[in-house]
Structures are given as structure tokens and as C-alpha cells.
Symmetry: D2
Subunit: 102 residues, 4 copies
């Protein structure tokens, strides 16, 4: 299973990117993949091919009307099939014995 | 104001990185800077110098006993002093007229 | 056409990562895709699907014996079919009217 | 010593970013820090504080007339004072016993 965080930003479309991020999130939300929206990107969880396909679908959506697109992807693969979307944060909180801002 | 997401990972310390992430989060939590822990990193909000100083403090902490450290930083600067930690997500949800997983 | 820079690093395999990077570069070099090795990663050039496939092949190679792998991908897409592997650097040098370290 | 790769891109300034990259590279080139320009970013080598200062100087330059700036930084720290700007690539080539595209 992988956790994949990505963001996509078109250039030449002004300073406000939220209309483009909204189109991406609509695809992510309808994909059925487990995800989490953060102030800096979108985190997907699943098998490598499956989450990569969602990222490719998002790119194809923006490619329709954007001439230049910057994409960032960070992937944390760990062998096994357990979901780590919540576990990684809990593990840090347990070690520090306090609640963190999340 | 900038939103800065970062993650730091030592090599040569095994597969489980949570003891090191916990040490970093303790520094972040005590720094007084507005932050948010996600499954893929930590997001700070503040002035460039202030948030960069927190990242440097975290590096110095790990440098004590780690011989190799990989650091990722992504920064979204936008002129003005309004907090965007919540606003960016709300803006996407308003455009899609639905709640997203966050 | 996209320029895609990526790096892959296994955790739990010690501090020196070059044996793993070498296995990845062997795949990249044999893929036939235009590429460039830098001190911080590997830059591929080609169509989205084609370069993504090379990255996936590299992941599958490391997945064989690595339990945790961190992957970073940055993609600069620009409409059109011209190679930008050299052009981006030349364009900066022309603007500054001097040669840069590269 | 750290190897630090970074890129800075303003939004709201059109699709072509080379005028802004040129201003950054002028600062980098005059800083005296060892660097290398690649098609995807600029790699600096030196002590943490020193290279971070160069990145901050570049940000301050763009901040003058850019309202939104996206910055990416990846840092590879390794204990010791040896330059790895060339060594990392040579180490991969030695392992593969062939020359790579660079």
C-alpha cells in the first residue's frame, strides 16, 4: 500500500488556483479511492497503479485547457495492506503522549 | 504569509521513522507556530523567516544522531496576512458545493 | 511533453543508497527514454504515460526487496512536442548573457 | 554538508517563467556557493545555514513583484565535509560499469 500526496498547479491562469484544484478534487472524490484533502495537497491511499491512475486522470482533466502544469508527487510505500492514513499520526501522538494539531 | 509543508527522514535508522518524526513534532508543537500534522508531513503557517527557523531547529535536532537526513519542503507564499490553513479547503468545498474528506 | 524528475530511496537499507539508485538507472538507461542524471535525481523527458511507466518499472524493481520506499516526483508539463532538456537552461543563460554552472 | 535542490515559480505571471528563474540564478551565481543548474531546478552545495540563506535571498528577490510564489526544496544531508556534487553520479556509474547521460 502507498500513501501518495500530490498537487497540480497550472501556470498562465492567474494567482488563484482553486477553480483548478476543485476540478481535481471532484475527480478524486468520485474515484472511490481513500483520500484526504490538506491545505497543501491531496493524499491518496491504495495500490501503486490505482492511485497513479487517479493522478493521471487529474492531469488529463487539466491538460484540456492548461498549457503549462506543475505537478508534485510524494509517495510513501510500505509493504503490507494496512491503512496508515490515521495510524501514522496516532503513532506520533502515542510516542509524545500528547495530542497534536491535525 | 507562507504555508510550508515539510518532512524529514533519516537513513540508516531502520524502516520505522516515527521516533524521529516524534522528536520533530515536539519541537514544532513547542515553537508556538500554527501547524497541522498530516499523514505525509507537517504544515506550518507564518512568516518565511519564522517557519524556516522551525525547520532548521528540527534539522539540528536530528543532526545530533543521524548521519544522513532527507528533507522535503514545499512552500506556498501568498501576499497578505490572512491565515489560509482552513480557507484553502473551504474554498474548494464551496466551489464543488459538497463536503470533502479532510 | 513533460520533464519529470524523480528519486527513489529505500529505508531500512543503511545510509548508502547508491546500489539501489544504480538498479534504477539501469532501468532508465535501457528504457530508451531521454534522460539526465543529476546529483539529486533523474530527469526524464517524454509523454506523460511513457515517463510514468518508467517510474513504475523502477518502483517494481525496488519493491522486490525493499519494505519501505520513499519516492519524489516533480513534473513540468508544457503543451507542444519540443524537447526542453537543453532549452530551459539556454533560455536562462541568454537572459543573463553569461554562462552558468551546469 | 548538504546538497539542496530548489525551484521557485510565481503564479499570475504567465506561462513562461524564465525571466524569474534568471533573476534567481543571478543571485545564486553571485553568491559564491557551489551550484549546478539543471532543467528542473538549481542544486546548491554547502552548510545548511549558508545554502538556506541563498534560497531566502532568492525568495526576497521574487517577493518584490510576485504576489504568489511556489517553492520546492529537497535536501540531502550527509555528515562530513566532502563534496558530493560529482561523487554521487560517479558512484552510480562505477556500480553499473557504464557511462550515463548527465
Amino acid at each position: 500500500m502507498v500513501l501518495l500526496e500530490f498537487s497540480m498547479s497550472p501556470f498562465g491562469k492567474g494567482e488563484s488556483l482553486s477553480p483548478y484544484v476543485a476540478r481535481i478534487l471532484d475527480i478524486v472524490d468520485k474515484s472511490g479511492v481513500t483520500y484526504k484533502l490538506t491545505p497543501m495537497g491531496t493524499i491518496l491511499e491504495g495500490e501503486w497503479e490505482k492511485v497513479m491512475l487517479v493522478v493521471t486522470d487529474c492531469f488529463k482533466e487539466l491538460e484540456k485547457d492548461c498549457n503549462r502544469i506543475s505537478t508534485n508527487i510524494r509517495i510513501d510505500y510500505r509493504k503490507g495492506s494496512t491503512s496508515r492514513m490515521q495510524e501514522k499520526i496516532k503513532s506520533i501522538e502515542n510516542k509524545l503522549k500528547k495530542n497534536l494539531s491535525k
